[in-house]
């Protein structure tokens, strides 16, 4: 069922370009519907802990992932449902993780903030702001030392730019010429504090430039623009061009987390950004191109609803890890395979 | 006294001396003392018990006859 849903074949495509655009639309809508469902599940207490939504920011995750190959690695943040789904984690495993079930992609050990998946080289789910950057530098260092032409894409928000780890990592990646694609999702707020209150220089790409890292600014509400920039940057990285930096200007439509009264943003500002919602924007483009007809969108919606419902049913039917396993994986169970 | 009665009597006397001792565990020809871990005082108590129950005198020279289950039964049924 999941396969049928994710196949673009259900919508008639005029050209390869149209088909690709439809694919991007579908991916963004999958993330949107998934997260909307998460709000409901949270309100019903099926999901607990922190729940950070990226509604409004879907174009960043979807656009960048298009530029990566299966061999590449992804390091994400605690607002990473979109990155996980766009990277190819199954919606079932992701939803089960949010519900704390052992069928989840991290066996229910991580929850919303710590999605992991070895099969897609998805290295989390890092909930320390900027804490994932050194990790990404190291993954790239391993590729560099082993002569592999792979890219490590590292996502972080504008808040990370204020952290020392950001600067240390920029410096080290540039100094050692490592294949990292730094993807900054600038949604203008570090939790509840606007960038202008925390940064002396709010043009973030300048910071990367100061470390001699090629950097771009891109409209993070335009998935095609993100994809284009990301492809260009990723190819440069893969080709031995050292680290690259993408600043994606984006916006989250919802509060920082479920318990955030959102007092720090003007309602007008939020509404203004909603006019740039990447999903209707792309749908309109497709419609203009004649790539989708009446009813196609509804059909896609319905297929996605089915996929989300399937994921929820799967997660609800999932099991909780036995209490006896509480201490499993504090350390490795097998020392084999780790022999230097 | 029949041999069943003799065996029952032995069992009863034994129980008061060594509650955990099981007469059925004693192999043919094995001495009671060896099989049931009885010391000389235990054995004397055993003989005393049998003597009291039967009214027999059971002099010391007869002790060897009483040392096995079969011997004991034979002794009790024949006296």
């Amino acid at each position: 069922m999941t396969d049928a849903v994710s196949s673009p074949g259900s919508v008639v495509a005029a050209t390869d370009v149209d088909a690709h655009m439809i694919h991007l639309l579908r991916e963004m809508m999958r993330i949107r519907r998934f997260e909307e469902r998460c709000v409901e599940l949270y309100s019903r207490t099926a999901i607990r802990g922190f729940l950070h939504l990226a509604i409004g920011e879907e174009a960043c995750a979807v656009g960048v992932m298009e530029a990566l190959t299966p061999d590449d690695a992804v390091v994400a943040t605690y607002r990473e449902h979109g990155h996980a789904l766009a990277r190819g984690l199954s919606m079932r495993a992701t939803m089960a993780e949010l519900e704390g079930k052992v069928e989840g992609c991290s066996r229910g050990r991580g929850g919303s903030m710590h999605l992991f998946d070895a099969s897609t080289r998805f290295y989390g789910g890092n909930a320390i702001v900027a804490g994932g950057l050194p990790l990404a530098v190291g993954l790239a260092l391993a590729d560099h030392l082993q002569g592999r032409r792979r890219v490590t894409a590292c996502f972080f928000g504008d808040g990370a730019v204020a952290e020392g780890e950001f600067h240390e990592s920029m410096n080290l990646a540039s100094l050692w010429h490592l294949p990292v694609l730094f993807c900054c999702e600038n949604n203008l707020y570090a939790m509840g504090t606007a960038l202008k209150f925390t940064e002396s220089e709010t043009d973030l790409s300048l910071k990367a430039s100061s470390y001699r890292i090629p950097s771009w600014e891109v409209d993070g509400m335009d998935v095609l623009a993100v994809e284009g920039a990301a492809r260009q940057a990723a190819e440069a990285v893969r080709g031995g061009g050292g680290p690259h930096f993408l600043e994606m200007r984006t916006y989250r439509f919802r509060a920082h987390s479920m318990y955030d009264p959102d007092r720090y943003r003007d309602k007008g500002e939020v509404e203004g950004w909603k006019e740039h919602d990447p999903i209707p924007a792309l749908a309109a483009q497709l419609s203009e191109r004649g790539a989708i007809a009446d009813g196609d969108l509804e059909r896609m919606e319905s297929e996605i609803d089915d996929e989300v419902q399937d994921a929820v049913t799967f997660a609800d039917a999932g099991t909780f890890e036995p209490i006896e396993d509480l201490e499993r994986f504090v350390t490795s169970e097998h020392s084999s395979g780790a022999t230097p | 006294m029949t041999s069943d009665e003799a065996r029952a009597l032995m069992r009863s006397v034994l129980h008061s001396i060594a509650p955990e001792a099981d007469l059925d565990q004693v192999a043919e020809g094995e001495t009671l003392q060896e099989a049931l871990d009885l010391d000389s005082i235990d054995f004397l108590e055993f003989v005393t018990g049998l003597a009291k129950a039967t009214g027999l005198e059971m002099p010391e020279r007869d002790y060897p006859e009483l040392s096995t289950v079969e011997g004991c039964i034979a002794y009790l049924t024949s006296h």
Partner: protein, 448 residues
């Protein structure tokens, strides 16, 4: 038809107050519409609805505080029914859960009612009261709800101390190992003088007490016989280990001709009713007890670096227990008893020892111990002295041996007697004298 419920907006949110309704009955609502404002501990939050429909009824008035999951409004829904199992019904939460304070007060009340004592807040207070010798019954608490507090206890203690001029006597401090050891050796800690830091009782104090109390091993009255048996067994083990470490043993052995005794015994038993018959062990024990009179160095205790001879002969006899282990209760004044009485006491002792119901008097005071392997044993036994005793006599199995005397070899009934002696008290010469004396007495059984 659906219910709009108080959402959970954080793991720590238990309830929320509806401050504003943004919809009224009859309003059409769409999934995602903001329908109410809810105040939580942290802030006011706009809450949304998850289905499309028409507001039928607002169940909760503005200003109401309700638990998470409580129905706030009924919504008449359109469209297909949701998949079964999707909606998780939230059971209504009790409107008025007891506060923590009320719960605690209630349980205190129960506690007070059952114990008929004062309300006591904590075990610490109880412990303190016990330590300071303050009766809790006599106190009225100054704490919340009349609870007795630490301060109350201390005040009471000071008052009574002032009255009495001193604090109540305290149990001396003792180390955990000392306590464990005391249990194993059957030593009463209250009777032990501590020499550790601050006068605390430590290992060496218990060991010393264990010795001077003449291996006074007792089971506690409330312990089961099995427990006592085990405790005795452990105690003996500890004593044996101590003995092997500290007592310089010497060993002697002598083969004794029992022909005379055996013949006498056979004859004697012929005349005795079965319940009065003797066994050879009675003769051996009697001979041993009487031989002590000639060689007093083997009878008594070695305590605090010197030997204290005993005027009486309390003959410890080693008895194996069916559950394993060995104990050696005493037959008091064994040298004064005739064979019949000795035999009677032996039988009784064996039975009680086997049942683990020895009296403490039987366990105390052996001045010398004898172990007899009996007819199922082996040729000889070299035993370990029971400290603080200074000698142990062992008899092996009776057996027929070639015996050379006066240039003639014949067969005699024999037993090997051994002596394990404490070299700090006696020596081979005195020990040999002792064994020879036993031999001599066994050649005159009629005098035993």
């Amino acid at each position: 038809m659906g219910d709009f419920t108080m959402p959970s907006l954080g793991a720590d949110m238990e309830s929320g107050k509806v401050t504003h309704w943004l919809v009224k009955p009859g309003d059409e609502v769409k999934r995602g519409d903001i329908v109410a404002v809810v105040q939580t501990e942290k802030s006011e939050i706009e809450v949304e609805i998850f289905e499309d429909g028409t507001v039928e009824e607002l169940v909760v008035a503005e200003g109401s505080q309700v638990p998470v999951g409580a129905v706030l409004a009924h919504i008449a829904t359109r469209g297909p029914a949701k998949a079964p199992g999707e909606r998780r019904s939230v059971p209504p939460v009790a409107r008025e859960p007891a506060t923590g304070h009320e719960v605690r007060a209630a349980s205190r009340h129960v506690q007070g009612a059952t114990s008929h004592g004062p309300l006591v807040e904590s075990p610490i207070v109880r412990h303190l009261a016990e330590r300071l010798g303050v009766s809790l019954e006599s106190l009225s608490g100054s704490g919340l709800g009349g609870v007795v507090t630490r301060a109350d206890v201390e005040r009471a203690a000071n008052t009574s101390a002032a009255r009495a001029g001193q604090l109540g006597s305290r149990r001396p401090a003792s180390s955990p190992f000392a306590r464990r050891l005391a249990g194993e050796l059957g030593v009463d800690l209250a009777q032990v003088t501590g020499t550790g830091p601050g006068g605390s009782v430590i290992e060496r104090d218990v060991r010393r007490a264990g010795l001077t109390a003449a291996s006074e091993v007792r089971g506690t009255p409330e312990a089961t016989s099995h427990d006592r048996q085990r405790a005795m067994q452990r105690a003996v083990g500890a004593l044996m280990a101590r003995s092997k470490r500290e007592v310089p043993h010497y060993y002697l052995r002598e083969t004794i001709d029992l022909s005379t005794s055996a013949a006498w015994l056979e004859q004697a038993n012929l005349e005795r009713p079965v319940e009065d018959r003797l066994v050879m062990a009675a003769l051996l024990f009697s001979a041993t007890a009487r031989a002590v009179k000639r060689v007093p160095e083997v009878n008594g205790f070695y305590v605090d670096g010197s030997f204290v001879p005993s005027a009486s002969v309390h003959l410890g006899i080693a008895i194996s227990q069916r559950s394993g282990g060995l104990i050696a209760p005493a037959i008091h004044d064994a040298d004064q008893l005739g064979l019949t009485e000795l035999m009677r006491q032996m039988k009784e002792l064996v039975i009680r020892a086997r049942e683990g119901i020895l009296r403490s008097s039987e366990m105390s005071d052996p001045t010398i111990t004898v172990t007899n392997l009996g007819d199922r044993g082996v040729e000889s036994v070299l035993g370990v002295i029971y400290p603080p005793q200074v000698a142990l006599v062992g008899f092996g199995r009776e057996s027929e041996q070639p015996w050379a005397a006066n240039g003639v070899v014949d067969v005699r009934r024999c037993v090997v007697a051994t002596l394990s002696g404490d070299h700090r008290v006696s020596d081979g010469i005195r020990g040999a004298r002792f064994l020879r004396e036993i031999d001599r007495l066994l050649q005159e059984p009629e005098k035993l």
